[in-house]
């Protein structure tokens, strides 16, 4: 099984698909059931953001090894409108009006590492990592 | 290749203890240990070489004459080894190089003594003996120039205090390591989840509830609810010493997660202080059922589950006759 998988995200059907891919890829690393669920949930949120706000993008799933620890990395990239105020988006309770907002602070809580770059007209890239405990 | 690993090993203690070159520079500045002092020390280096052996011998004679310190140097091989490295140690005091290698070496010596269990007081006593003896020899050697002896002994004192600081740091660092290990061991202790009735669980939580343990607790509780089909879980926090807003949030999250699985959590054991503290912080516990102690919690749980405790009927005289 390849260590890196790229999935194009265009519609909600792709959200389900990328989740399934992630499960297969991450399971072999030895994550607990809890952690697999956290990964799948974070992935779902990130994929949904791409569908809802950017109308298309891609997600790159990869398994990495650093020293003696293994990890799973999700990179969610899109060329959408970008987030005007990333700081505000990272605060709990921020919403763009559709109810639950971007779920970014929550996603950060689910994973071990979280990085986001975004700008108006520059699209958004979110990179999250979970390490096997 | 070998050199690289040796250098790595040498820097290991400095890195482990977080002592940077900047920190060393700060300490030297504080002790006012500068180039003048280094010159002084180097100027008495030859003299130091001369009296190294007799001073060390007298030094260990002193140590072995006290029961407390004798016990650490019972093994003759260990004693030889220590004497040799002590001679090196004292020689280095005046050789003029006070760089990273010097620091690392001092830390190592401290670590060795700590490892064999030598108490700090004995270690400091050793330095005291050395200073006294050497000062004596210096004044002897420079009888005609006492100011020189004074200058030299002042510089010597500075470098020795630098060393003492480092030695004490290794002692403290080892202690802190031990404490950290013990704390980790305690963290690993999971909270037991006890089934006391059909569909009723009790979790006696003891100790500090920080993020890691709180997550563990929540996972355990949720898995237990699933496994035992529990409808009520009592979380007793009598044994939780600190309940601040972080802990309160962990507890609230646990309660909420349990509710998603159809189970009610009853929180028991909030002391009057904690209850008032939580109100003061403004934590919203309105959605959580709480009772003052475990007993009332159990009674409430039983009520929720539809149990009713009925005392066993008193034996009638007719029953007695049958016996």
């Amino acid at each position: 099984m390849a260590d890196v998988v790229r999935v194009a995200i265009r519609s909600d059907a792709d959200i389900v698909m990328v989740r399934q891919q992630a499960r297969v890829l991450a399971r072999e690393l030895g994550f607990s059931t809890s952690d697999l669920t956290l990964i799948a949930t974070a992935l779902s949120e990130l994929a949904r953001n791409i569908v809802e706000y950017a109308h298309g993008g891609e997600i790159i799933l990869s398994r990495i090894k650093e020293g003696d620890r293994c990890g799973f990395v999700i990179i969610a990239r899109d060329n959408g409108p970008g987030i005007a105020d990333v700081e505000r988006a990272m605060q709990d309770g921020y919403s763009t009006g559709t109810g639950l907002g971007l779920g970014l602070p929550g996603t950060k809580r689910l994973m071990d590492e979280f990085e986001i770059t975004s700008g108006i007209g520059q699209g958004t890239t979110v990179r999250v990592t979970k390490w096997v405990r | 290749m070998i050199d690289d690993t040796k250098q790595d090993a040498e820097r290991a203690l400095m890195r482990e203890m977080g002592i940077t070159e900047r920190e060393i520079a700060r300490r030297r500045a504080f002790l006012e240990f500068g180039d003048e002092d280094i010159k002084e020390l180097m100027s008495i280096h030859a003299l130091a070489e001369q009296y190294a052996d007799p001073v060390i011998e007298a030094f260990y004679q002193h140590l072995l004459s006290f029961e407390e310190t004798r016990s650490f140097f019972q093994d003759p091989k260990l004693l030889e080894r220590v004497k040799r490295s002590q001679k090196d140690y004292f020689r280095r005091l005046t050789q003029g190089e006070y760089d990273k290698a010097y620091i690392e070496d001092r830390l190592k010596v401290g670590a060795v003594h700590e490892r064999i269990g030598l108490p700090v007081k004995s270690y400091l006593g050793m330095y005291s003996f050395y200073l006294r003896t050497v000062a004596g020899r210096l004044f002897e050697a420079y009888q005609d120039a006492p100011e020189r002896a004074l200058r030299a002994s002042r510089s010597l004192m500075k470098v020795i205090f630098l060393d003492i600081g480092l030695a004490i740091d290794t002692y403290i660092s080892r202690r802190e390591q031990l404490i950290r290990k013990q704390q980790e061991a305690m963290r690993e202790l999971p909270t037991p989840v006890l089934q006391v009735r059909e569909r009723l669980l009790v979790l006696p939580i003891v100790g500090l509830l920080e993020s890691y343990r709180a997550r563990q607790l929540t996972e355990q509780l949720l898995n237990s609810i699933s496994a035992t089909r529990a409808k009520v879980a009592i979380m007793d926090i009598t044994g939780v010493p600190i309940v601040d807003s972080k802990v309160a949030n962990h507890l609230l999250q646990t309660v909420s997660a349990a509710r998603l699985m159809g189970a009610t959590v009853i929180l028991t054991g909030l002391s009057p202080q904690i209850a008032q503290a939580l109100v003061a912080i403004g934590v919203d516990l309105s959605q959580v059922q709480t009772t003052v102690d475990l007993q009332s919690g159990l009674e409430e749980a039983e009520r929720l589950l539809g149990y009713r405790l009925v005392p066993v009927a008193v034996r009638t005289s007719a029953d007695q006759a049958q016996l």
């Binding site: 059907a13 809890s34 799948a40 949930t41 949904r48 996603t107 | 089909r229 349990a258 998603l260 189970a263």
Partner: protein, 125 residues
Amino acid sequence: MKAPILKQGPYLIASLQPELTDTDLLQLQEALVEQVGRFRSRGIILDVTTLDVMDSFATRTLRNIAQAVGLRGAEAVIVGIRPEVAFAMVQLGLDLRLSGVQTTLDLEEALAILDRQHKELGRRG
């Protein structure tokens, strides 16, 4: 992919699968609200036992379903949220979205609750 809806007496039982897309969920919502009216159901059971993920959309939709059928006279109960799913939900803060909806571990429990509530309503009526 369609989520099956079973009729069990006065109740409807919908089983959600992990392969359901957002579109499928919205279709389920429509179907349930319509059928509650058609069959005059008094309660619906949303079985999520096989779901390994409940994200913000799924949570929102379930809440909407509960509210919508509530307006049409039916109680909703969510059944079978898995331990690790419940855990992930509280990390994301999704538990609060479901604060008004009843949840149970299994089907038996859910039916008991719906029966009990129906009886109470009957008594009051």
